[in-house]
Symmetry: C2
Amino acid sequence: MDAEAIQRSLESSGLRCTAQRYAVMAFLMDHKGHPTAAEIFEGVNRLDPRSSRATTYNNLRDLVKAGLVSEVAVEGRAGRFDAKGTRHHHFICDRCGSVEDMEWYNVPKPASRSLGKRVVRECQLIFRGLCTKCASR
Amino acid sequence: MDAEAIQRSLESSGLRCTAQRYAVMAFLMDHKGHPTAAEIFEGVNRLDPRSSRATTYNNLRDLVKAGLVSEVAVEGRAGRFDAKGTRHHHFICDRCGSVEDMEWYNVPKPASRSLGKRVVRECQLIFRGLCTKCASR
DNA sequence: CTATTACATTAGATATATTCTAACTTTTCA
DNA sequence: TGAAAAGTTAGAATATATCTAATGTAATAG
């Protein structure tokens, strides 16, 4: 996604395309490895313009609310974020904790009996085990 | 699971069955709603014996390492725990954040091509959407 | 074009969650 | 029995996230 596309997607979500917000979005497009808020903050601030920590958190929250970014569900303390480009599942390494993308495939929905009145929006798989690096030890 | 079964499962994992560790395990068997560490700590301490926060965290970590408890992958700051009784998937409400159990069913494994050298230990499904309460608003 | 208002950003303080430290207690077992 | 291992503890330290209140910036009604 290029600069204009980022700008358009922000504006069509009712968010102004500020330098700080743009930077968060661009960083996420560029780093597919599910960075933490701290990593995003640091990465964004290594370049211009300076952005405060509060702004980074505010913008992440706004972007998640707008559906442009998703927060990845992992155990552990630091939230991890993901620009919603392509759909994918996740693999989490038991040993080193890294979060990797896995190719997307459809997963059967639960029986409507067990679903009740709940409304399912999406359905995500999390694999656990050993990543390539940790498996070879 | 009764008292003796908890004791046996602890000991067969090489963990002593201390009062504090037993209490954490019993609390988790009794509260299927994926309590946070803080809730477990509070719940355990409302009864005898007193257990410190550090011990609660230590014991949770030991139990997870031993495979008797799993940490549920949810976004948000506080870790949530789950005694591995029956297998189940999870439903997370977009609106109120509650985590509910969903009936277990088998999920197709990823293609070995996309898996590479990774070793999959388990495979967990997370549904997102609106829970029964939030859907009716 | 300016004033008003809503949106955004900031530094730093605060709140929350988890882990660490170092002393102490209990259990195990040679 | 007594040395080593395992467990517990209070409180300090660290990590993560949010709040506050002052300030800045952009959109737009007049």
